[in-house]
Symmetry: C2
Subunit: 182 residues, 2 copies
DNA sequence: CCTACCGATCGGTAGG
DNA sequence: CCTACCGATCGGTAGG
């Protein structure tokens, strides 16, 4: 997985070959085929590896306070990513393959739904506990925040400038303040 | 260009070959090399073709009224795109290549700056004419709206559901109403 | 997990 | 713009 990551970073998805991965791995392509039947199997497994890496910053949020928890989540999804340019690029490459590859698309859909569930839960909790307005639709609000997060990461890939992540954090913050809070 | 578009739609960027393009073109690969020296030259030209197609919905906005003009722009960037799934996918594929391909990245940066300029101009005009609050930073506001637009299009590729475009239109509308307007 | 190799296909070109 | 083809490289495998 690490060798695939390095090979992808260097060559890009379109030029990612078993030989390039094997070279990073320090073994032959036959060694890779011993662990994965096909290149496709390897790439599906690799996406799971990337998504797990990505969720690292989302999982370990401690606070129970809805407002603070939502803020920490947005920080984890945006600000904490500024040193992970390679990871964001790799995930966008996989995302661009979704229309042509069912297994990849399904994994990404599941991952996106997971993140939306996490956001929806904290927003619903905030509504219930009076931190957010009681006419807020947690489902719609979660979709809105996800849209902002994804937009920031897509811009980040092309511009390679972490200021787009901070801009998005501000936009998300404004959305929370103006739409969710009273 | 049209043949390349069809071949990309069918095979994806990673499996886009000169032979597949030639087949869609109805000629041989040698015929393509008569017009473009290398596959790379063709792809750079192809991106320009895609971006031009994309800007179609942005160029022909008539009204001068800042609020209405901004609304029309957001409609053009989001709602008008719901029947252009293939175009949005193709552009995301090109975008994912940016880190590995200077000419592609520069074209995308230029395109993004153009759209930001258009948004910034209408927002600045609105501030000047009193339609928007006078403490609005047109530059920051344009970046915010672009982030929302890009997020919607990235989600659209994986989910293939135009509701994400409408959600984003609502989020952008809320931003305009809550942050730009009084 | 390596050596050695397979058939298939790649981008590109010489000659017309 | 076609025919015919080039060297290079692809994903994958047999045998050990």
């Amino acid at each position: 997985m690490e060798a695939t990551y390095r090979a992808l970073r260097e060559h890009g998805y379109a030029d990612l070959t078993m030989r390039a991965i094997a070279e990073e791995y320090g073994k032959t392509t036959a060694a890779i085929h011993y662990h994965y039947d096909t290149k496709d199997d390897l790439l599906v497994e690799f996406l799971a590896y990337l998504l797990d890496k990505f969720l690292d910053h989302v999982r370990d949020i401690e606070t129970d306070d809805p407002e603070r928890r939502l803020g920490d989540l947005l920080d984890g999804l945006l600000i904490d990513r500024e040193d992970d340019y390679d990871l964001v690029c790799a995930l966008l490459e996989m995302r661009a393959q979704a229309p042509y590859h069912d297994a990849i698309r399904e994994q990404l859909v599941r991952n996106d739904e997971y993140i939306r569930d996490v956001l929806r839960a904290v927003i619903a909790d905030g509504v219930e506990r009076g931190a957010f307005r009681d006419d807020v639709d947690p489902d719609a609000a979660a979709s809105a925040l996800i849209t902002i997060v994804k937009g920031a990461r897509t811009r980040f890939v092309v511009l390679a400038d972490s200021s787009v992540l901070h801009v998005a954090r501000d936009v998300a913050g404004a959305y929370v303040a103006d739409v969710l809070e009273a």
